[in-house]
Subunit: 692 residues, 2 copies
């Protein structure tokens, strides 16, 4: 059976090579598209420089953090270097560094392509929706292919080199710790700029979105790139790696079928990437417009994946239909969650309409009704995750000890199999959002702006759906990480000559202690991020006011604003705020572990997952709802632009901005990081803890 | 040892008699105080009539619900009538009815006294703060004494009559199901009126709070009574009964020490009531003002309770210091949680100041920063509950099987021992709030209004603290109800010849399934209540607009508004909305039970408790913070009244109103009801469930 596994290693590297080749092709294709408008080139250049400046400063901070973390890992993990084998510690530290580097490189290239595509998309929009869509989508697809390619490459290389799936957890931790800070930092940057630009521009001055007179307008466009392209890419890189890593840790611990379970994980990852390539290659705008184009590519990818994995079951020895079923359930539930998310954020459905109506009575009602629908919207996804975990577990339980949890981890792998497609759709959003801004600032005319608006609106709709999807995928992944944590903790307990854990009983007070504290963490974490945005935005608003009062001729458009001052405020603020929240979650995990040992950590992870999912779904969906509510009113409902309802909706949208683009999507990563920290440090808690 | 228990039954009835006698004395004392101002008498009469109308209509609906529930209980609980003994079913149904009736009577009398005290407090405020404080406080104390007296009376009578603690769960369910609807209905009423009055009066028309020209002003004052007096009384009646019931269920299941554990529960309840009587009798305003008077009475009560229970340990055979320790830890943690809650809502501390500062940048920042501090404020209370549960458990674990959970239930009993004092402080709030309104409407002059304002402000501060306290107490109670549920489920499993449950393992997918769904319920529940307020307030705002545009001379104060129309809107809306949310939680419990059996329900209760505590703490504290932030600005900070910051703070306060007075405090009751439903119906799930 080892030959079978080797076959899949080979195929993994082959499909990664294919994905990279395709990404290069798409990159060159995008680059080949013309851009002739000098004004657009100039602004696009400003956006690119702003993004690069931020990324450089962010990566310097993250490199320092990663260096410290790598040294700590070298000394302490998987077990203190003076106790275990130093080779393991060196491998773990190297795997950690590899995880951070691949994540950073993917983010960097994503930014490169996105800032290349935005101007070209804007100019292509003059010719119509089809060519513009293709540039925006293909620019995003480069990011999608790279992220999935890097994750498969990294996981396969680490496992092939070390043969030890625990080392994979180090790689995965590298990916997540970077993602945690990239998501938080990018999220704070983007919303600082967005909120400030909207409040001063739209609300106070009454100038349109993306008006070049607004000093924050370039920062706002930079933010789309660093938040939604780099941050989101790092986030999904992390989820994807974590899902594969936890599935592989559990697969290696299973007895009976040799390597076939490990092979199966790789096979599904390979076929997922292949299906995404097909989906990307076939994406075109038809008569139904861009939203439908993005959705139908997702459905194509899903169908291709399900058919090919079913075929693989017929071909390969030791592959199980039960596990296929678990993966299929995960994927289908993911798609269904996406659709229900759409219900709560789509402006043709009741929730958005009701919030728009409530806005007529004032902003308090916009906020209250949006929060309410946000809370309700969490229910279907929570039920979906609960059902897919239950079904995957029950399907695989008869296969033997440990298979039930393996089933859940394969549901996560299944859900994430189409992640290449998801990222492509997601990265499309900021590119066309930028393109819309460039069309406005480049003076390309009403018609072109309308085309860009249509592309942008599709990006927003799809974004809400993919967010629900990625939160749910993180949910399933961390459930299987809970299994991985238990298996790691038990290895350490056996080594320490202590009794193993068979589960985490909620009636055990140390477990319960962990649950209550774990449940508080996502709330505190998101509060810290939101307060970061709140603080920075106040500073940026003050700067914008200063520019308008001090720079003569700015209001009339005769003089350019000092764009770089705003970019600098967003950058410094984000860099300053990104570490504390992330560090708090890691430190809290360690404190609970050293107080209550593995049982408390089991509870802590559970509490963290449950409240993390709830808060993330609430925030993402409420934010998406308010955004679309504002657009719905701007399109003429409830009195249209500048009505009382519109003013209230703008306030709702401002509240929703950090919900949906800073805190909500960062929670994914937060729960993954905490789960990985717990697994990695489990042996420490076995040795040192007050209660046990 | 049975003689010991009989002694405590006797003492229970004696202390209840004493409490009732004291309540009657206070009632007569309040009634004796003079009221001479015709205008105030007239308005006070309107408030009283409005409250009575609402209570009558609400109780008619609740009576129908209770009748249906009693029939269902008669047929199905504790086990289907065709299987078990019909006497048990009859007892259970009667106990249920007794629970609902006592809760309703306490609410009714509370309203009676509160509407009697408000006018007298207002007029006494002309003479100074001391006499006014005393009337307000003693009016509230009548409610406090009655609620605690009724709970001890009911619990002792039911247990003495049936000897079966399971029947107590029926009594407790009666109390909670009424509380659930009373809290939801009263909460919707009060915030519909408050929000509408503020938005139209303060924001749109720029007239002061409690201005008699505002058509919603009477409804607003009625709301304080039906929401904060009747609703809150029902809530704490429910918590108190549930804490005692679950402690007694567990005490009866303990082996070894005969009746002494049961005796101990009664002894602590008796001493708690006695300590509250002392605290109430000694309350006076000193130099430090009303807030300090309320707080120091609470400290007196706490100290008296701790000393007397320690003495009881020396006197009575079989009483344990470990259990005393558990009760003491619960009580002390409750007080500490109250103090930390105060930090987040007090305007001399950093959170309120920062939110006020953020308000200068617009309402979106008020909302965002308030939500953030609300989330952070949940952490200390969650940690406090976690620690008190852990310590109580570890303290009592060495005493033998089952004692650990008994320890947690006694921590809840300890925390709730001073509930008589807590209710007195809480009911004081709406009385002085009403008094302030009456002083304004009766034209008693600036000086008197200032005195009333000071009394009112103390009420608001103490209210935030008591809310943190009562949420935490509910948290500990429902943890012990989880223990009660397991013991009930195991009885049913033994009767069915199935294997008993030793715990709820979070790695078990049916448990996990339950956890995820249970965690969603408080979010959906609170959303439904908030949407109820949102919808009704929109209707009431429309009605107020209509009156101002159609009634000539209203704006100038020449003609009276049609107060009754607004009262009617609040009443009909609340009656209409109060059933669905409550029913949803009960039905969800049953669905999860019939799908996943006892294991899923164990998880469901856990998820419900954890997310319920988090959301309740978040909402109550954020709401309190916004309220005080508005007052802080009105007192002159950040530009004072009518500044930009003030407008933003008013919007924040409006968002916070249903958070803190409708949804937040209703969640207490929601988690208790769900826990009781689960315990009561456990045998049904053992017999009928899809998975197990």
């Amino acid at each position: 059976m080892e030959s079978q596994l080797n076959l899949f290693y080979g195929l993994s590297f082959l499909i990664v090579a294919l994905a990279f080749a395709f990404a290069v092709y798409l990159y060159l294709w995008v680059k080949k598209q013309k851009t002739v408008n000098g004004k657009i080139q100039e602004v696009s250049q400003l956006i690119k420089e702003g993004a690069n400046t931020f990324m450089r400063r962010e990566y310097i901070v993250l490199a320092k953090f990663a260096a410290v973390a790598a040294v700590v890992i070298l000394i302490l993990l998987p077990s203190p270097i003076w106790q275990g084998s130093p080779v393991d510690n060196i491998s773990m530290a190297l795997a950690y560094i590899a995880g951070t580097v691949l994540s950073a490189v993917a983010g960097k290239i994503g930014i490169l392509v996105a800032t290349l595509s935005n101007a070209r998309t804007a100019e292509a929009a003059q010719k119509g929706i089809k060519p513009a869509f293709l540039i925006g989508f293909r620019g995003g697809a480069v990011m999608g292919l790279l992220v999935v390619g890097f994750s498969l490459l990294g996981v396969a290389a680490v496992l092939l080199a070390t043969g030890d799936s625990s080392i994979l957890l180090g790689f995965s931790f590298g990916a997540s710790s970077l993602a945690l800070f990239a998501k938080a930092g990018g999220g704070i940057f983007t919303k600082t700029a967005d909120v400030s630009a909207d409040l001063t521009g739209k609300v106070e001055l009454g100038i349109p979105e993306d008006d070049p007179r607004n000093p924050a307008v370039i920062a706002d466009n930079v933010g789309d790139n660093v938040g939604d392209v780099a941050g989101m890419g790092a986030d999904l890189f992390d989820s994807n790696v974590a899902a594969m890593a936890s599935a592989l840790v559990i697969a290696q611990s299973l007895s009976g079928t040799g390597f076939s379970n490990v092979s199966m994980v790789f096979c599904y990852a390979i076929l997922g990437l292949f299906a995404s390539i097909i989906g990307i290659a076939t994406a075109r705008v038809g008569k139904k417009g861009p939203t439908s184009a993005l959705n139908s590519s997702t459905y194509v990818t899903t169908a291709v994946f399900l058919v090919l994995t079913a075929l693989s079951n017929l071909v390969f020895e030791g592959f199980s239909w039960r596990i296929w079923g678990a993966a299929a359930v995960g994927l289908l539930v993911g798609v269904i969650i996406g659709i229900t998310t759409d219900y709560f954020t789509d402006d043709s459905k009741s929730p958005v309409k009701k919030v728009a109506k409530a806005s007529g009575s004032g902003p308090a009602f916009t906020v209250l009704s949006g929060i309410s629908y946000g809370f309700i919207s969490a229910l279907p996804a929570m039920v979906g995750i609960a059902i897919s975990a239950l079904v995957a577990y029950k399907l695989c339980e008869p296969m033997g000890d440990g298979y039930a949890i393996f089933g859940i981890s394969m549901a996560a792998v299944g859900m994430l199999s189409i992640v290449g497609m998801i990222i492509s759709n997601d990265a499309y959003g900021p590119i066309v959002d930028n393109a819309r801004g460039l069309a406005e600032m480049g003076g390309l005319g009403e018609e072109t702006i309308r085309t860009a608006d249509e592309l942008d609106s599709a990006g927003n709709t799809v974004k809400a759906v993919t967010k629900g999807f990625s939160i749910s995928a993180a949910g399933l992944t961390v459930i299987s990480l809970l299994g991985a944590f238990m298996s790691e903790a038990n290895d350490a307990l056996v080594a320490a000559g202590k009794a193993v854990i068979s589960g985490f009983d909620i009636m055990n007070p140390t477990v319960f202690f962990g649950i209550l504290i774990g449940a508080s963490i996502p709330a505190v974490f998101s509060a810290m991020l939101i307060l970061g945005v709140d603080k920075n935005a106040q500073r940026m608003v003050a700067e914008i006011h200063r520019q308008f009062s001090e720079i003569a001729g700015l209001r009339e458009g005769k003089v350019k604003p000092e764009y770089d001052k705003c970019i600098d405020i967003a950058t410094s603020g984000a860099i300053h705020e990104l570490i504390p929240a992330g560090l708090m979650t890691i430190v809290a995990t360690l404190i609970v572990g050293f107080i209550g040992g593995p049982s408390a950590i089991g509870g802590f992870l559970l509490g963290n997952i449950v409240s993390g999912l709830l808060i993330a779904l609430f925030m993402s969906n409420a934010g998406g709802l308010w955004d679309n509510c504002k657009k719905y009113i701007e399109a003429g409902a409830e009195g249209g632009k500048n009505s009382k309802a519109h003013k209230a909706a703008v306030i709702g949208d401002t509240v929703g901005d950090p919900f949906k683009d800073t805190a909500g999507p960062s929670i994914n990563t937060q729960i993954t990081v905490v789960s990985l920290v717990a697994s990695l440090t489990s042996s420490l808690f076995v040795w040192f803890s007050i209660f046990h």
